[in-house]
């Protein structure tokens, strides 16, 4: 095959590989932020569930267990601790499978 044809085709395929993220990677990266959004929406819908905003009659446990903030915390924990390693391992495996 002529190198004038093969060169551009290979470059186009390479560009497509680098631009597109696999759906599984996107899904993994979306889980944490989506969870955080759920917590924020909940906080806006029920601000009285956050003890810092509605302090009347609240005890220590009310400050420990604030539903919307706990959901945000879970989203952050997943997004920062679990998702990055999984994405790296997934890309590593997919990259290895392609070559």
């Amino acid at each position: 095959m002529s190198s004038e044809i093969a060169g551009p085709l290979e470059r186009r395929a390479e560009r497509r590989r680098t631009v597109r993220k696999p759906a599984r990677v996107l899904a993994l990266e979306a889980i944490g932020p989506l969870t955080i959004v759920c917590g924020v929406v909940w906080a806006i819908a029920q601000p009285y569930r956050i003890a810092f905003l509605d302090r009347d009659g609240k005890g220590l446990y009310d400050y420990v267990a604030q539903g919307p903030l706990l959901v945000v915390l879970v989203g952050l924990a997943f997004g920062l601790l679990v998702a990055p390693g999984l994405v790296a391992d997934l890309e590593d495996t997919d990259g290895g499978a392609q070559t």
């Binding site: 599984r24 889980i31 944490g32 267990a65 539903g67 679990v82 391992d89």
Partner: protein, 193 residues
Amino acid sequence: MAAPRPEIAHWLTATVLLFVGLVLLSEAIVGRAVFRRRTWRAYLFPLLVVVGGVFLWLIAALSTFSTMHLLAHAAWAQAAMIAGGVQLALVRGKLSHPGWALVTAGGLLLTGASFLIHEQNSWLFSRSAFLHHAIGWVLVTGALFPIGEALRPRRAVWTAGFAVTFLVVAVLLYADRDIAPIFGRFGDVGAAP
């Protein structure tokens, strides 16, 4: 220091279950082989279940306001510790047969049945009663996924269904209140004449 109100304990439990559900969902997305490439990830779910079992014993010790609650919490604690122990052995390689997933199914069934049995009020008595019934049936239904894993192993649908079970239970637990109406009703107070 006074023990936390039940709803506080339920919200904290919901937080742990939400995290477990997300971790299991990520396992369903990437597949078991990729998920277990890092040792700490492989051990995360079994360890959380065993630690959850220890905390359930603590709750069983504190929730002594009725024999039914004491028995229910003790049953969950035992189910969690046995299921967690089997999961640990599976990850470690001491056990390998897919049939061991039936232990997890048994744990979920026992937990679901405990929820249903120890709630003595009807569905629409209060929000707490409604949620006890709903969580019980979600857990009983969720037991189908480990059964599927035992019969047809390594299919993503079982892991995904198992993860969604945890996520649904977490949402229901977040909705729990010690005293709150359900659909505008509260016991006989809000019932139609």
